[in-house]
Each structure stands twice: as C-alpha cells, then as structure tokens.
Symmetry: C2
Subunit: 337 residues, 2 copies
C-alpha cells in the first residue's frame, strides 16, 4: 500500500511538457525530440507511472482482455486451456478474466453479462466434456471460440480433440505390437468421448480385419470401475492380450487388478490409457502408454483463432485437433518387458 497513482498529467508536468507530448513519448511515436523523450521517460520512471488501462480501453474500444468461461470446477480441462491461451496471448500482454460457471446455466449467464460489461475483446468457452453444448454466441458483440466442448451451432468456432483418430492411433499401436485379442473398457455411453473413442477402436479393428474381444464395457470413469471391469474381463475372456481403456483412471484400475490376478503387463496383456493424467499414467506399474489430448496446444490454438476472429477473420466449424500417443512400458512388445 502506497501513494496515489501517478497519471500521465503528473508525468507531463514533472517533465515540463504537455500531456500530448508525454503520451507520444511514452508510446514511442514520432514527432518528439530525443532529449524530450528522455525527460518524459525519466519522469515516468520516477513516478513509476502505469498508464490506466481503463482510460485507454475506453478510448480505443479494446481492452486487451479475454474472458475464459469454464464449467469444470476441478480444472481438469480448463487449466491447460488457460495455460495455452496465456501462452498465445502472453507476448502481447493480453489478460484473462476467468469465470467458473460450475455447470450452472444461470451462473453462466450471470458471468457472461459480467464479462460483456467489462468489455472483453473475446470469449473462450471451455466445456466440461466433449458433448456439444448450447451456443452462447447468438447476438454477442464479441467473437467466441469453444474449446474442448463444441457448440451445438455449426456456425460457431469450436476446437475439440480428435478422439476418434486418437483411439484409432492407440489401437493401431496395439496391432503393431502384434496384439490381436483387443478388448475395450470405457466410460458412460452418454459421454460423446466414450462413444468417439469406441468408434475409433472399431475403425482401426475393421481396417485390420481383427475382431474385438468381448463387448465394450461401459461404467464410470473411475479406477474402481477399471478394477471391476478387469475382474469381469479376465474371467470372461482369459485369452485377451490387450486392453484399450477410455481413461487413465480406468487403465490404472485395470493394471492393478491384472497384476493381482497374476497377469503380467505388458507381457501377457498390453494396456493403453487415455488422458495422460500424469499422477496416474506415470505412477502405475508399469507406466501407462496413453493418449495425450494436447490440451495446452488446443488452448493455444483456440486463443490464436480468437485473435483471428477479433480481427474479423473467423473460421467457423468444429476443428478436430490431433492427439498424441505417449508410449510407455505398458505396451512394450511381448517378451521385451
């Protein structure tokens, strides 16, 4: 806590010039003699002058601020997007106003109004799942991009991970490792993520002419379910040699139970997870091969496209972002434990 804030007026009078000249000097404009500029800069430093962004924004109509409206309280998806966005903005000193609607539509509207009244230049909406969500962009005076959870309206700009492609990539990896008895354990079917990943699995298996082992097992996204599904699967399909799991939590549970039941991973059964949630994927034994959705890149890309949209160059549609397969010990080739 200290003195009152200095204004450009104070700087100008300390430097003995008008505020116009001070402004020009501070903003590196022409039309000001080097010696004068020097004096102004010195005065500004002396008073530790910070230009008032409100006044500047009022005049220019640009606040250099974007709103990030998220719905996943836990930050599982919002955080990487925030980081990516900060990266994309960073250089040019954009700031991020963060609001968490906690899945409540009323609260979302409330936050939306608050952000709009603060005159954000744009908006990033982060979904809590990849299920399409109602558009928020109708008649909004600023551009909006959706990250992770796409908008229902195809005229909006959305960025989602390519779950289908990533799942296919994961399964192709298992096939390349020589596995042919591949099972699938995943999350609730009302998640589009679960359906997409299963779709990817099916495409990859079909292309290779390989049959899936057993039915897809759907349950919660939890470790507990992974363990439970493992019991069922190992009982019903004893000759399974690979499992593609819809999340690292499920995979961690599976690996634990498989281990307990005397199945070696990866020698007897190879396991692939999803999410690359490091507290799980690198701490299981063995560490998990898993899909990294590259959320930080997704966030950065969304931010960059928001910039483009702010400049009037929007690119509507749902953009699928490539994921990455992180290969760890849970899928080494058989015999190469």
């Amino acid at each position: 806590m200290a003195t009152k804030r200095a204004t450009i007026n104070d700087v100008a009078s300390l430097a003995g010039v008008s505020i116009a000249t001070a402004s020009k000097a501070l903003n590196g404009r022409q039309d000001v003699r080097p010696a004068t500029r020097e004096r102004v800069l010195a005065a500004a430093a002396e008073l530790s002058f910070q230009p008032n962004a409100l006044a500047r924004g009022l005049l220019s109509g640009q606040t250099r601020t974007v709103g990030l409206l998220t719905s996943d309280s836990v930050g599982r998806f919002g955080i990487p997007v925030l980081l990516g966005a900060e990266d994309a903005f960073g250089a040019d000193e954009m700031a991020v106003l963060l609001c968490d609607a906690r899945g409540d539509a009323i609260r979302e509207q409330h936050h939306l109004r608050a952000l709009l009244s603060r005159r954000v230049d744009g908006l990033i909406v982060v979904g809590e799942s990849t299920n399409p969500r109602p558009s928020v962009s109708k008649d909004l005076p600023v551009p909006v991009v959706y990250a992770y959870g796409p908008s229902e309206d195809p005229d909006d700009v959305s960025f989602v991970p390519d779950d289908v492609g990533a799942a296919a990539m994961a399964v192709n990896h298992l096939l390349a490792m020589g596995r042919r008895k591949i099972a699938h354990i995943t999350g609730p079917t009302h998640y589009k993520a679960a359906r997409d990943r299963e779709e990817g699995l099916r495409l990859a298996l079909a292309e290779a002419g390989v049959e899936q082992v057993g039915q897809t097992l759907s349950g919660p996204w939890s470790q507990r379910w992974g363990r439970h599904a493992a019991e069922m699967l190992l009982m019903a399909e004893p000759d399974v040699d690979a499992v593609f799991c819809g999340s690292d939590q499920i995979a961690a549970g599976f690996v634990e139970t498989a281990r307990e039941r005397g199945r070696r991973v990866p020698d007897d059964i190879a396991v692939v997870g999803y999410d690359n949630w490091e507290v799980l994927s690198t701490e299981t034994r063995p560490a998990l091969t898993t899909v990294d959705m590259n959320l930080e890149l997704l966030g950065r890309t969304a931010a960059q496209h928001l910039f483009a949209a702010i400049d009037g160059k929007a690119t509507p549609g749902v953009h699928k972002m490539p994921c990455q397969l992180v290969i760890r010990d849970s899928t080494s080739p058989p015999g190469v434990s």
Copy 2:
C-alpha cells in the same frame, strides 16, 4: 457477433430523456418518475444495454476486479482458492483476473504490472508451496493477501493451512485408534510442509509419551516413493502398526506395497494420507483417511480479508487456517475391517 454496443446515450434518446435521467433510472436512484423509469428500462432492454464497466471504473476508481497471481501451473492449489474467492466475491459480482507466473519471477513482475495497469482493486497471491515467498506488496497501490504460500514480510496478510495442527490431529486419531507403533513417510525436507507435518507428529507423540517408530523417511512427493519407502519400512520395522504419510500420493504408494507384502490395511497397519486429493484418496483400497486442507475455505477467507483490506481494514500477519481430518477405511480400529 452482432450490432454495435448500445451506450447510455442510445438508451436515453430512445426513451426521450437525458443521459442523467437514464442513469438515475437504471441505477434505481430517486428523483425519477415511475413512468419515466419504465420507459428507460424498456429502452435499455430493447437495446440490450450493458453499462460500460470501464467508464464506470474510470470515474469511481473501483474496477470490482481482483487479480489472482498464482505460481502452480497445475492448479492443484490455485483452483480451490479461485473457487473460494469466486464464492466470496460472487454475490457482489466481482471478477477475477487470473495470471500464472509458472514459478518465474520475471513473468510474475510482468503480470503484476499488467494487473496494476488494469487497476485491479486487490491482489491474491497463491504460492506453489507453503514455503514463505518474497513479498510483492511493497509500495503497491492496492492491498495484497497471500494464500497457501505466505509472504516473508510479517506485515503482509497471509493465509496458510495449519499443517502442524493438522498433522497432530492425524496422529492423535491414530493414537485414539490404539496404535502405538507409528512411522512417518513424507516429502523433501526443503518443503516447509514436510517439516511442519513432521513437527505436528512429534508434538502429538510427545504429548502421548509415545516414541516414533524409526526415522522419518523423506523423498519425493510421489506414489513411487511411497512404494519404495514402504519396502524399506516394512523390512526395518516389521512391527509398525500405523503410518502417517505426508501426502496422498505417498500414502497410495504405501498402501499398494503393504497390500502386496501381505499386510492388511487397516487391520495390520493403519494409514493416514494428506491432501484429500480425491482421485487418489477415494480410489485406493481401502479408501484413505486423510487431511483435507480446506483450500476452498482458505481461498474464501483470503478473499473476504482482501475485501476488508480494500475497505482499509487489514489484519496483518500469518493466519493459520484449520484443516479437517476425513476419516475413511484406512484407519478403522483393529479388528473392525
């Protein structure tokens, strides 16, 4: 994307009054006839008018915005604090400008300037650990409160979890369950959290006149270390009947290995974790008794005190916030599995 934003001027002329009257009508002030107010409100609704917070802030000197400056990219501590802060602010529609310095002092200064230039009303600084950190508040024109990681300067306002008290509480719980052979596995000693939690353990044991079993084992905060430490501990001190772990990650690793080595939890060995990181604490077998640092409450309290400080009523010093012991199956009394 839609039309240009309406100003109060547009509202006023649509309603056929002056902007002053429009302002008064919109803000529920007296001196305006009900019929007139009605007209103004209708006009505002018609134009979906949102008052420009920049202009308002410029005039009042208050932006109703606070900055949240965090250093833990992963959001493990920052997020609950953000949520708590949003809760405290929410009713009164404060907004939060979030910046992540990622442990980089330069970037922190950069963000600090950006926040100041945006004229935030106050600042919450969230540490990445409970280690005291350099103060940022000297000669700042706005109040600052520190959450989780306290400031080195005792004149600042800091809120930290009461690690010592919580550890003592955890150990007292073990003692109450009849355990007398208590060991401690924790994180690196350069973390104040590790030292404080050990301190709490010592106080509780001393008060009960019980000796700690073996030396405190220090290592990374990881599950891997928990497993490794479990091997060592079970070898060196076979008769241990309880372990207090410095984190849920360590506890999860310990439980896993103890189980593998044929020790039953909690029958043979009771285990207490720390953090109540739910993806771990509720998913281990058995679920972990653990310390919940109540970070959301901490964040809310910090936010409330920031309000107080904004109003000129600061309460300097390091405030220790109470934690909570969440009792689950890993510490049931012996024989009551």
